[in-house]
């Protein structure tokens, strides 16, 4: 991993919410650095600030103080419109609740970020098919989300996250709504996506999910509690192959 380009660099990241008179410091100076093709799990109990950090890393929100450099872009000072562009090009989101658009079929859902990116129709079609194939849903492209199982929906969501070739994949509790077996299927796909050279940030509070990551960052009370390599990375593909 040494020598790989630094994709994420935060410096003294603060997020302070005001609730009337009360000031809530959700983040109190976060300094992390994530290199290209890392597979990081972001852990912490509720209230630790991990959702806030994930919103900042995903450019859905801006920090109160501090800087955040994403793939050489200083996103902490960007305007709303610029952030939309960054989210579109640099970040692939995978949510706990899948968040597919119910009226669109799998292919259209996957192609939607390309629409906002202004890609041509033929490229959209081709690229969306490609990533759906990668997640093993080549035969479900014209199905609407309500015609797919939970695992299949999450795979569509992963395909959608990959479609714009983002700098980071940001997965927020991606297995939170899935049973154990399906969760393993999804984690297997993440592993494959990682092997393909993508950078993954996995937000979770389940230790068995974080075991798949190569590095685990633990937050507590808005600060980094620990940041270390995972000595025992659980590999799923090996199990499957054998």
């Amino acid at each position: 991993m040494i020598g790989n380009k630094e994709i994420i660099k935060t410096k003294d990241l603060f997020k302070i919410y005001r609730m009337g008179q009360l000031e809530v410091k959700a983040l109190r100076g976060i300094n992390i650095s994530i290199a290209k093709n890392e597979y990081v799990a972001l852990m912490g109990p509720s209230g630790s600030g991990k959702s806030t950090l994930m919103n900042l890393l995903g450019c859905l929100d801006t920090p109160t103080r501090g800087t955040y450099i994403l793939n050489d872009y200083d996103v902490s000072t960007m305007s709303d419109g610029e952030l939309a562009g960054i989210r579109n090009k640099q970040i692939g989101f995978v949510f706990q609740t899948f968040n597919l658009l119910p009226r669109l079929n799998a292919l259209e859902n996957v192609a939607l970020p390309l629409v906002y990116g202004g890609a041509s129709r033929s490229y959209r079609q081709q690229r969306a098919e490609e990533v759906l194939y990668q997640v093993g849903l080549a035969d479900r492209m014209d199905h609407k989300p309500n015609e797919l199982s939970g695992g299949q929906r999450q795979r569509v969501a992963i395909a959608r996250a990959l479609v714009c070739k983002p700098s980071i994949i940001l997965a927020d509790e991606p297995t939170g709504n899935l049973d154990t077996k399906t969760s393993l299927e999804i984690m297997e796909i993440f592993e494959k996506v990682h092997i393909d050279g993508n950078t993954i940030i996995l937000v979770t509070h389940e230790p068995e999910i974080s075991e798949h990551a190569h590095r685990i960052i633990k937050l507590r009370d808005g600060l980094v509690e620990s940041d270390e390599k995972n000595p025992t990375v659980k590999k799923l593909r090996d199990l499957q192959v054998s």
Binding site: N55, R103, P113, Y116, G117, R160
Partner: protein
């Protein structure tokens, strides 16, 4: 560009889904737009059709003609009624003065209403409106003949018993036979028919509708009635300007000629009124203006209600889709994209309402036209106005919900 096309598609789908999913709600909301567009466009179209009809009738008469009467046209006689009615009738000597002395007049004619007379021919009889005229009457009023000819100068001078009859009169007493050269009885005198006037048809207001009229020469008229003792509206002196003479010059010379002829002292008021068609068209303009205003006000209120109800739908629609808007934001949709999307949806809804309104207008005009036997048209201009208005309403009712959607915080919106 492509992105916007995609959004157009999406918005049409959303609007359609909104309509199909909430039929009653959508129907009630669009009703306001439909009624508003219906009111405004139907009134404007009716007025336009009426106006077209009346104006084309007027245009035939030309705008270089002055009409001298006892009463002014464009004034409510109320107060001055007695003053006007005491004025002397216009008579043949006035006509002769104008005819012989005026330089600026191209032609002039005196017409005197003889009144309703019974015409008899064979076993048939009919009542017709008889008007006695001097030379050039047909030229000034552009009267077209169906068949036959007008009076010759000789006939005018000698008062030969000849008549040019209206189309309906001919139909009624000759019932399909050729009237030219035939004799009819009018007040016991035998009169020869020499011409038939072209049919005017069902124009709403037509100052030259002779379908039920009969024209005779002034000198023949004197033999069957006392032309100097007719009712106050009965006589009219019509003066047409000569080539390249302005209507103002004509009016000035006409006034001085008549004043001189009637020996009015300098301080005395005119004892005649010089009228022109523009006076009538001014009255009509006012009338149509009021009619249009009524349509616009009623329709405007309906549209106002419509705007609020469509805005309401759009608010509900945005609220229902908060989560989806959040997702779209996360995927990189900018504010302007979302703004455009919601606005477009609202415009599409209003367009549907407006187009239904226009269809109703079309139906209503056809129906009215059918019963009035009168052409009512929905012009392209009106359709354009209706559609533009619908788009405007869509923008007005969608703009605030669209801003609300565009400004949503993606973090909160995704949670729904």
């Amino acid at each position: 560009m492509r992105m916007y096309l995609r959004i157009v598609n999406d918005s049409i789908a959303q609007a359609w889904g909104q309509m199909v999913g909430n039929k009653l709600r959508t129907f009630l909301s669009l009703l306001g737009i439909t009624i508003g567009i219906f009111c405004i466009i139907s009134v404007l179209s009716s007025v336009e059709s009426l106006e077209q009809n009346i104006r084309s009738s007027f245009e035939r008469l030309g705008d270089d003609v002055l009409y001298v009467n006892k009463f002014p046209w464009a004034e409510d006689p109320g107060m001055n009624y007695w003053k006007y009615s005491r004025r002397p009738n216009l008579d043949y000597s006035d006509y002769q003065a104008v005819h012989t002395r005026m330089q600026t007049a191209g032609s002039a004619s005196l017409s005197t209403t003889v009144g309703m007379r019974t015409l008899k021919q064979g076993g048939n009889n009919t009542r017709a409106f008889v008007i006695a005229v001097t030379e050039r009457y047909e030229d000034i009023l552009s009267i077209e003949l169906e068949d036959g000819r007008f009076f010759t100068l000789m006939e005018h001078q000698q008062g030969t018993p000849r008549a040019v009859i209206g189309y309906d009169v001919a139909e009624n007493i000759f019932v399909g036979r050729d009237p030219i050269g035939q004799t009819i009885k009018m007040g016991g005198l035998a009169v020869q028919v020499i011409g038939i006037i072209q049919r005017s048809g069902n124009d709403l207001i037509n100052p030259v509708n002779f379908d039920r009229g009969v024209l005779i020469t002034h000198n023949f008229g004197r033999r069957i009635a006392n032309l100097n003792a007719t009712s106050y509206f009965g006589t009219q002196l019509i003066v047409k300007a000569g080539d390249e003479v302005s209507i103002e010059d004509l009016r000035d010379e006409l006034t001085s000629t008549l004043r001189a002829h009637r020996r009015l002292k300098p301080l005395e008021d005119d004892n005649f009124s010089i009228n022109e068609l523009s006076l009538l068209t001014n009255i009509l303009n006012n009338f149509f203006g009021i009619l249009n205003l009524v349509g616009i006000v009623i329709g405007g209120f309906a549209i106002l209600v419509g705007i609020f109800s469509v805005a309401n739908i759009m608010f509900v629609s945005v609220r229902e889709r908060t989560n989806i808007i959040g997702i779209k934001k996360a995927l990189g949709a900018t504010r302007s994209v979302l703004l455009f999307e919601i606005l477009l949806e609202s415009i599409i809804l209003c367009l549907i309402g407006g187009i239904i309104g226009l269809l109703f207008v079309f139906g209503a005009l056809q129906l009215i036209g059918h019963f009035l036997e009168f052409e009512m048209i929905l012009t392209f201009r009106m359709i354009f106005w209706g559609v533009s208005l619908s788009v405007l309403i869509g923008v007005l009712s969608g703009i605030i919900p669209a801003f609300v959607a565009a400004k949503m915080d993606p973090v909160k919106a995704i949670r729904g």
